[in-house]
């Protein structure tokens, strides 16, 4: 099963130094959080769309965002309901039902929050889809994050698909013996799923121990001094991108000043 994977392309965004991408991710996350207004969100999401298109990951992003649609709908509806329960004096009221007062401002706020969630998901996956994990771990380490932390993150991405496959295989093995896993109520189902849990725990322990021995063979030490075969140098394209990021930040602050 494919969860999230690096998409190999030769785009400018792919070629950027991983540290530049991490800075871009951090700056846009802060901008989205600090200047959370609809025009700002629209500009940020548009810039993201542009990056997805030029880096050739738009298809993968659309697939990922499709999976996020239920979450976005829930967020939108929840904000509309809460907004309708907290009236704001002197604004346009669109509809009234008992204690609910649906105002234009509620709709705008809900759209803003929904786009904000979309932006945070989009930012994270843009980095993941355009940066290979070894490179990302290297970049984070050069930025002062302990290698053990960045290695753990990359290991997690390696392990999750293996364990997901394990669960599938174990479930198939039990079903093939006539065992219906999804039968009965919640308690009954929980009991039934022990037939998966036990083999999964055993397999996970075995896999963990094998990996631990392998790490020992490769003389991996948490906190140990290590070098890198990868040469990370900030190139002209990285500096140009950082300059564009500064201009973009100024534009966001300007927009926010106008629209707040």
């Amino acid at each position: 099963m494919q969860l999230v994977n690096y998409v190999d392309r030769m785009s400018l965004f792919h070629k950027l130094d991983p540290r530049v991408k991490v800075v871009w991710f951090a700056v846009l996350t802060i901008l989205a959080l600090a200047f959370r207004t609809l025009p700002v969100m629209i500009v940020i999401v548009s810039s993201l769309g542009l990056i997805w298109a030029v880096s050739g990951v738009h298809r993968e992003m659309i697939q990922l965002l499709r999976k996020a649609i239920p979450l976005l709908v829930i967020a939108f509806v929840t904000w509309v309901i809460f907004g309708a329960l907290t009236p704001t004096p002197g604004v346009v009221v669109l509809a009234r039902w008992g204690p609910f007062r649906l105002e234009m401002v509620d709709i705008l706020k809900s759209i803003t929050v929904t786009i904000y969630i979309l932006v945070t998901i989009g930012l994270f996956y843009t980095v993941v889809l355009t940066t290979d994990f070894s490179e990302l771990a290297d970049g984070l380490t050069r930025m002062g994050i302990p290698y053990a932390v960045s290695f753990a993150i990359s290991l997690m991405f390696q392990l999750i698909p293996i364990l997901v496959n394990e669960v599938g295989s174990i479930a198939n093995a039990q079903r093939s013996r006539g065992f219906e896993l999804d039968k009965g109520g919640l308690v009954e189902r929980s009991k039934r799923y022990t037939s998966i849990a036990f083999p999964l725990i055993i397999r996970s322990i075995t896999l963990g121990q094998n990996m631990s021995i392998a790490l020992h063979v490769y003389r991996f030490k948490v906190g140990g001094q290590r070098t890198s075969h990868r040469e990370l140098v900030l190139r002209t394209r990285d500096l140009c991108f950082l300059f564009c990021l500064v201009v973009f930040t100024a534009l966001i602050v300007y927009l926010w000043n106008i629209w707040r």
């Binding site: 093995a173 079903r175 093939s176 013996r177 065992f179 219906e180 490769y218 030490k221």
Partner: protein, 579 residues
């Protein structure tokens, strides 16, 4: 020069506990390739861990006695300095690859040691060249085949400049293509003078490369002999439970008949030996006896069956019929669609296009219980199946899942099965604590406990020794006598050639060939196309211009027919004069 020297080396997991390695004495010279073999529990893996320093630097609580010198240095007392003298490649490449691209993976160990970039690049270039993996250098590791991953692990360990390389069952998880890749890699390392210790009871893949074989029994060395001497000694081979090349079995059988031949360790030595002996190559073709009576009923039928995982096609337009009472073998590289096809039989997968029926019914129209009563499925890895608190409960799991309770009649039947498979003495044992071999038998018992008419076995011989394989063959033949249909996925071609009546060859989700085993195994071009080597005995037959030789028995009969009157071959197989 001695590269490895163990003197009276003993080890127990804790002070006062029994020794798992006892008074071990062995030595390995520089540039030698040595195999350490022995039955399960003989201490091979512990020796691998001792040699590679995993004991005592990772498993610290054990009790070690004696001495171990690697390249003249005291490996047990060397501490930090001793690290890295021996590199080890483990069984499962998935657990030993850390990095996104091949280059990152190979560099991982060197980065941890703290090599400077120039040295790292030098080593990277060297091992990549040594193992001829230039084309893989920038590939993503998750896009590699199992064999390529294992070669990548070998490169990662070699890049750390070990003096000795230990390979711990390096091909046990690989398909035939993967085995060939690892075999080629080890052959190249032999050419460059590397010192290699192979810990494996399957010597089929490495036999011609070995200089010596060390046999372990009960934690110590029982025999330390030249490879040729080991392969010539039938009793020693059998006693150590080692799987040897098929031609080595042929050599033993010919020796027992009184022929004096040089020992056969691979196809080439066998062909040369037989050719030099004049009349030993088969001079007759094996002709399949015509089937008697009407064709058996169709049990499984697939029509235009296609299946995709997301956008990736796994099966494409598969059309076939499996017939009642037949034994069918399925051959193909990993990812060729073998398991995907069989998962359609009990409804674990639903066709993306086309249809499949089992006894005229779509698996999706039946309940899970109904399908389990029709198709018994034995998965490759027993650990994915076993979870009950006792062997008896595990064996009767399917009965309880389907009928709700076991009952006295069915309980008696299950106990009978456990008796038949040699598991009766473990009836109250936790299945997890059984040996791998016993776990495999238990999963088979569990699948056949509801007496299904169709049985699917996925890689059943993995990790089995010669004796166990023979037992399994007898078992499958007895099911056939009962009218049951058996479908076996296996990379073990000699096993399938001897057992299967029909063979299905899959490649990239497509049926390449489906027909009687003898016809399929006669098509050497097909096997070359799918990069799976034919059984050595079949190749020997082909070398003499005789196709369709499936077993050593047939080979000997075909050879004997040249000098003797036409023999009677048990009704199923006849031998006639060559055209």
């Amino acid at each position: 020069m001695l590269m490895v020297e163990a003197q009276n080396l003993s080890y127990s997991f804790a002070k006062g506990k029994p020794k798992v390695v006892s008074q071990l004495n062995l030595s390995v010279k520089e540039g030698e390739i040595v195999a350490i073999v022995g039955p399960s529990g003989s201490g091979k893996t512990v020796v691998a861990y001792l040699l590679s320093g995993i004991i005592p630097s990772y498993f610290k609580n054990g009790d070690i006695d004696g001495g171990l010198r690697i390249d003249g240095r005291d490996a047990l007392a060397a501490g930090e300095d001793g690290e890295g003298l021996v590199g080890i490649v483990l069984q499962n490449p998935e657990a030993q690859l850390f990095g996104f691209r091949v280059e990152d993976t190979i560099a991982f160990g060197m980065e941890n040691i703290g090599y400077f970039r120039d040295k790292m690049n030098e080593n990277l270039d060297r091992v990549i060249k040594e193992l001829r993996m230039e084309h893989l250098r920038y590939r993503f590791t998750d896009s590699l085949s199992g064999g390529q991953k294992q070669v990548c692990c070998i490169a990662s360990v070699l890049a750390m400049d070990p003096k000795v390389l230990v390979l711990d069952e390096p091909v046990s998880a690989l398909d035939p293509g993967g085995v060939i890749l690892v075999q080629q890699a080890v052959s190249r390392l032999k050419e460059t003078g590397r010192t290699i210790i192979v810990i494996d009871n399957n010597l089929e893949w490495v036999a011609p490369l070995l200089d010596r074989v060390i046999v372990m029994e009960d934690g110590s060395v029982s025999h330390d002999v030249a490879a040729a001497e080991f392969f010539a000694d039938r009793e020693l081979v059998n006693r150590s439970g080692v799987t040897t090349p098929q031609v080595n079995d042929l050599y033993h059988q010919l020796s027992a008949l009184g022929y004096s031949l040089p020992v056969f360790v691979d196809f080439e030595t066998a062909r040369a030996g037989l050719s030099d002996s004049g009349n030993l190559m088969p001079a007759h073709s094996i002709i399949e006896a015509s089937p008697q009576g009407a064709e058996p009923e169709v049990v499984v039928s697939a029509r235009d069956l296609s299946f995709s995982y997301g956008d990736v096609p796994a099966l494409q337009d598969v059309n076939l019929d499996f017939r009642e009472g037949r034994i069918t073998g399925i051959i193909g590289q990993n990812g060729s669609g073998k398991s995907t096809l069989l998962k359609h039989l009990n409804g674990l997968l639903k066709p993306t296009r086309g249809e499949i029926t089992v006894r005229g019914k779509s698996p999706h129209q039946a309940t899970i219980a109904e399908m389990a009563l029709t198709v018994g499925f034995v998965f490759q890895n027993p650990d994915q199946m076993l979870f009950e608190e006792s062997v008896e409960r595990e064996a009767s799991f399917a009965i309880r899942a389907i009928y709700g309770k076991v009952g006295s009649e069915r309980g008696k039947w299950v106990r009978g099965l456990l008796e038949r498979f040699g598991l009766a003495r473990f009836i109250d044992v936790l299945p997890f604590n059984l040996s791998t071999g016993h776990k495999q038998w238990l999963t088979i018992v569990s699948a056949i406990s509801v007496d299904p008419p169709v049985l699917v076995l996925d890689e059943p011989t993995m990790g089995m020794d010669r004796r166990a394989k023979s037992q399994l063959q007898q078992m499958v033949r007895s099911w056939k006598q009962e009218g049951k249909t058996t479908i076996i996925i296996s990379h073990d071609l000699p096993f399938l050639a001897e057992l299967a009546e029909d063979v299905l060859v899959l490649d990239h989700g497509r049926v390449m060939r489906f027909g009687p085993a003898r016809e399929v195994f006669s098509d050497h071009n097909l096997f070359a196309e799918i990069n799976i080597p034919l059984p050595q005995i079949t190749r020997l037959g082909l070398a003499a211009g005789r196709s369709g030789v499936l077993s050593i028995g047939e080979f000997l009969k075909a050879a004997a027919a040249d000098t003797a009157p036409e023999p009677n071959v048990g009704g199923e197989v006849g031998v006639s004069a060559a055209c």
